[in-house]
């Protein structure tokens, strides 16, 4: 079962690699069908891995100093849940892409890369061993790079791809260091064994906290958490289905998944949990603020992704384990719904700019309600799915005033920015030429399915909690004392958005100008990184390059020039006349004989 779920996308990748050009448009169908076939496999896994079980299969792969590195799979409720999300969203996004990417020159390449990504993501999800996890972790990073830069002839896309690659690598360095630290401390990379060690207290002190924080650094990079979040908005240069699959539903959630996978390690260290919660809360708040002033539709949704990932981290960090993961689960559906609906909008409006949209609800009779459903789910309005996960996360912070305030402010901003986008796009009168309408059935089908999931996935909270909660016996806190406050805050956000942005011809900066500027410039973090990291490194490279060209190359070239001038002097001896050589040979022989005679 695992093998089918894991390797069918690989098979699809290999088929498209070998015959993609020849298959043409059919390559997308091959890939979609093969990925869709993994869905029954996930259902079977769900039955085969009931709550509380862990099935481990590992084969030795590399032996180092008597320790074996192994390759295999780990099937437990967490990995089955994540694999299900990946398989489902990947299938839907591929069906959507059949229409969205139609006519693109590199259509087969697109589907080959999506297949490779799906394979890598499933490999990451099922990894029983930190090294295997790291390998697939890097592989999904590679796919992300390839797909952000899919339209690589556009300089902005190429730049964004490089930025995403480099920034996430920075976090991965931490993850690698964490893995090495765990290896040197315990001599094993087997995840269940490591977690058992952490749980039993055999692993403790600074090693425990340090490795947890280093592993978290990898999650920060992958999940676009502060301060390594700068790559995600730029990653929107990729095709919209990629934004939905990789940069909303699955790959960016891998950071959250990693923290959840290593949760006993974090749970054993209060410091690590505190850091996770603080970073999460900070990201949730900052990203929501930046989303408020963004004028590109996809980037608004991207900031929303960062913010929601922050909520997941906040949930994990404050011990709301089930709620954090449930947020991942729900978010995967409503965020890919938002992205796919945004893709339809962009298709129809032929622009990314919110200020040039408006009044699109009549033209997009499916995408508009779909986007609305996604927005309500994101805003945490019952009975939409976000309510069932976000509210318990906020409630879990109630005893920590700073986190609670950040979470509530984030909730207010969340409904404000997403309904700002909704009203600017769909309400009012058109502010530009909108040539298109709703896409073909391949685009509408996934929208329908995801709308239903966004409406309904939250209602499965009971099953979800029983299936993979850490304390399934305790009730899942859907309704708590702070729920009314959260709802009031979210409702206020929607109301504010309606007052400020609905039925207005053109949007002016409505926040106080300096604050608006601060948000629009993304807190000047890009500039800060450019000034403190990128520019010094560039200067250093330039100095090294100068040194290399002048000093090192100078030495080598000087030696070569010396040899050449020596040769140029010697060549005068070579006159090219055979008789001269013969004369020299004669005198040489004569001298030789004389010498021999002399010796005798």
């Amino acid at each position: 079962m695992v093998l089918a779920v894991w390797l069918l996308p690989l098979a699809s990748f290999l088929i498209l690699l070998a015959a993609g050009r020849r298959l043409g448009h059919r390559s997308g169908v091959v890939s979609s069908v093969l990925t869709g076939l993994t869905l029954p496999g996930v259902v079977a896994l769900l039955a085969a891995a009931p709550a509380g079980t862990t099935r481990l299969a590992a084969w030795p792969w590399l032996g180092i100093l008597g320790h074996g590195l192994s390759l295999g799979w780990l099937v437990d409720p967490l990995s089955v849940m994540m694999a299900g999300v990946v398989a489902l969203v990947s299938t839907l996004v591929q069906v959507y892409s059949l229409a969205y990417m139609k006519g693109d020159r590199d259509f087969p390449v697109f589907f080959a890369e999506i297949s490779l990504f799906t394979f890598a993501m499933q490999g990451l999800v099922f990894a029983p061993d930190l090294l295997q996890l790291f390998i697939f972790w890097e592989l999904v990073g590679l796919c992300s790079y390839l797909l952000i830069g899919f339209w690589h002839t556009r300089p902005a896309a190429a730049r964004a791809a490089t930025k995403a690659f480099v920034v996430t690598r920075t976090g991965d360095l931490g993850l690698l260091a964490g893995i090495l630290l765990l290896w040197s401390a315990t001599g094993t990379l087997n995840i269940p064994r490591l977690l058992a060690l952490a749980g039993s207290g055999a692993l403790g002190g600074w090693v425990l906290t340090g490795s947890a924080l280093l592993v978290f650094a990898g999650a920060v990079g992958k999940s676009a958490q502060f301060p390594l979040h700068t790559w995600l908005p730029d990653a929107m240069e990729g095709p919209t289905p990629i934004s939905a699959l990789i940069h909303a539903a699955t790959m960016v959630a891998a950071g959250v998944y990693l923290v959840a996978r290593m949760y006993p390690l974090f749970a054993a260290s209060p410091t690590a949990l505190e850091v996770v919660a603080s970073i999460g809360a900070l990201t949730a708040l900052l990203a929501a603020g930046m989303g408020l002033v963004e004028n590109e539709l996809k980037r608004v949704v991207a900031y929303s992704t960062m913010s929601q990932l922050g909520y997941m981290m906040l949930g994990l960090g404050t011990g709301a384990y089930t709620a954090g993961l449930f947020q991942l689960f729900n978010h995967a559906f409503f965020k890919s719904l938002l992205f796919l609906a945004a893709g339809s909008v962009i298709h129809a409006a032929d622009t990314h700019d919110l200020r040039r949209m408006g009044g699109l609800a009549r033209r997009l009779p499916l995408s508009a309600p779909a986007f609305l459903a996604g927005a309500l789910a994101l805003g945490g309005i019952p009975p939409f799915s976000g309510f069932f996960s976000k509210d318990p996360i906020i409630a879990a912070t109630a005893h920590q005033p700073a986190l609670y305030a950040a979470a509530l402010a984030g909730a207010l901003l969340t409904s404000l920015y997403i309904f700002r986008a909704y009203f600017l796009v769909f309400a009012g009168t058109p502010r530009g030429e909108h040539p298109g309408g709703e896409g073909s059935s391949a685009m509408r089908g996934p929208l329908w399915i995801l709308t239903v999931l966004s409406l309904g996935s939250g209602l499965a909270y009971h099953f979800f909690h029983r299936y993979l909660g850490r304390h399934p016996a305790a009730p899942y806190p859907v309704w708590s004392g702070s729920t009314w406050i959260t709802l009031a805050v979210s409702g206020t956000g929607i109301l504010l958005a309606w007052l400020l942005f609905a039925n207005r011809p053109v949007e002016r900066p409505r926040l106080a100008a300096p604050a608006h500027r601060l948000l629009a410039e993304r807190f000047y973090l890009d500039q800060l990184y450019a000034g403190t990291i990128v520019r010094p490194i560039l200067a250093l490279s330039r100095a090294a390059s100068w040194l290399d060209r002048r000093a090192v190359d100078g030495l080598v070239n000087g030696l070569a020039r010396m040899v050449m001038s020596f040769g140029r002097g010697l060549r005068r001896v070579e006159v090219g006349r055979a008789q001269s050589y013969a004369l020299a040979a004669f005198w040489g022989l004569a001298l030789f004989i004389l010498l021999l005679e002399g010796v005798r």
């Binding site: 010697l570 070579e574 006159v575 090219g576 006349r577 055979a578 008789q579």
Partner: protein, 100 residues
């Protein structure tokens, strides 16, 4: 009756003449002739040694050298001919492909 030394002196003189021709003459044909002269100087020595020692091996050596000289002249002249065809000269000064 001349002594062995007289024969050797004549041989040495012939050799020096041949050497001079091979090294100094301007035309390639004369160089070949000089080489022939040196070979024959060696032949003279070999025959003289054979006569004075009473053993036949020196004369057999000389016969081999004559056969070799014939072959060498054939090859040498063939090279000269093709050289003349391609470069229209047999002057040693003009044949300087080895010049560095």
């Amino acid at each position: 009756m001349p002594s062995l030394g007289d024969f050797l002196a004549v041989g040495a003189g012939l050799f020096v003449l041949g050497l001079f021709g091979a090294l100094m003459k301007r035309t390639a044909v004369a160089v070949l002739m000089g080489i022939e002269l040196m070979l024959n100087a060696a032949n003279l020595n070999l025959v003289a040694f054979a006569a004075f020692s009473g053993r036949i091996s020196g004369q057999i050596f000389a016969l081999f050298v004559i056969a070799l000289a014939a072959a060498e002249v054939a090859v040498g002249l063939a090279i000269l001919l093709s050289l003349f065809r391609s470069r229209a000269t047999v002057r040693m000064d003009d044949i300087d492909l080895l010049k560095g």
